[in-house]
Symmetry: none
Subunit: 217 residues, 2 copies
């Protein structure tokens, strides 16, 4: 009997792309289109792929999109893969080579996100086809190797607090640890904010001002 087709779920934003067209020509694959909350391809319930052209990859570093995207992917799925199409070092864009190496190393070594490089959309499609088979037929049981269970809310909390003036990653974390939740941070008085180390008089009043500022129309 004919082997059952593998289902690959593709985000609607990718539906027009050449890659996706190529993907549909694989008889082994059943291509479904959906609105994926994060990522571009779902190879199984556990494996998500974000695909970026080389230039996009560089841009997503520069504007910091990459980092939040990766955090979301890790939060939502047990295995996250970034697929880079083309040569990132060839995109002359003023970015330091060490910044690129840093980003790639960060993905692999720190975040544990697999990086897959491809030559062009056709290569990407072929690679996705194979990865889909591996993800669905080759994994089966050993998903356990990602240690801690994902906590997307931690990321979202930090994201929310980093919206405050003068709050970067470090101060955001301190505030959350001190107050215990986003809501507690946002209901704090200027004096309470002042108690957090790293937050001085000036910053405390700036934050408080934003929180209580009466919004006009």
């Amino acid at each position: 009997m004919e082997p059952q087709k593998l289902v690959i779920r593709v985000d609607n934003r990718e539906s027009w792309s050449g890659l996706t067209q190529a993907l549909q020509r694989f008889t082994s694959l059943d291509v479904h289109f959906e609105d994926l909350p994060v990522g571009d391809f779902l190879l199984s319930d556990d494996v998500v792929v974000e695909r970026k052209a080389a230039a996009d990859f560089v841009n997503s570093i520069l504007d910091k999109r990459l980092f939040s995207q990766v955090q979301m992917m890790k939060a939502a799925y047990t295995r996250a893969i970034v697929m880079i199409e083309g040569d990132v070092f060839a995109t002359r864009s003023g970015i330091l080579p060490d910044a690129l190496r840093g980003a790639l190393s960060w993905l692999s070594v720190i975040e544990g996100v697999a990086v897959m490089t491809t030559k062009d959309p056709l290569d990407s499609a072929s690679t996705l086809a194979i990865m889909t088979r591996h993800a669905q037929e080759g994994l089966g049981y050993e998903i356990a190797l990602r240690g801690s269970k994902p906590k997307s809310l931690d990321v979202l909390s930090r994201f929310a607090v980093e919206g405050l003036p003068g709050c970067g990653p470090s101060t955001a974390r301190k505030l959350l640890v001190h107050f215990g939740s986003v809501r507690a941070v946002y209901t704090a008085s200027a004096e309470e904010l002042l108690l957090v180390s790293g937050v001085g008089k000036k910053q405390a009043s700036q934050i408080f001002e934003v929180l209580t500022f009466p919004f006009n129309s």
Copy 2:
């Protein structure tokens, strides 16, 4: 005080290579030579790297060395990385492209082994230097989740509210108009949020969850 040097342990078989020479010129690194039982570089007690020139990589697929080497690396260390120097698809060696893709996919998707591709020995050295720092110190700082911020109060208010899940510019504005201030939005209950047009049941509960989620560590 001066930061302590990072120790990278290099297998003796690699000691003569151009890569290793380049590695020794990094002032941040302290290069130790040893007889490593498996792999070519130890970035920390947990992270091992096997470095292969593109042609070697292809050969190790053909004669099945790759499979056992990876198994041994995984057995001995918690994180294994394969560094491929050069373009594997450029090595005309009769191997089918799909066999290469299969091997790369197998490493990433099934074995959970990170694959790092580099252009040449110098690129490899720079990459190893950065990976070593990441393996031993992590980033050493935290990365920002958002890009740069606006400065005027009303824009700042919107910006703060846009940190909530599913809140773009439009929804943020509606929430602010409805509640009157950032603080009021952040103290709202799920039911109150639901009253705002554009916010449905699902989004209301998501928002509420982020607000009240107890932050860990």
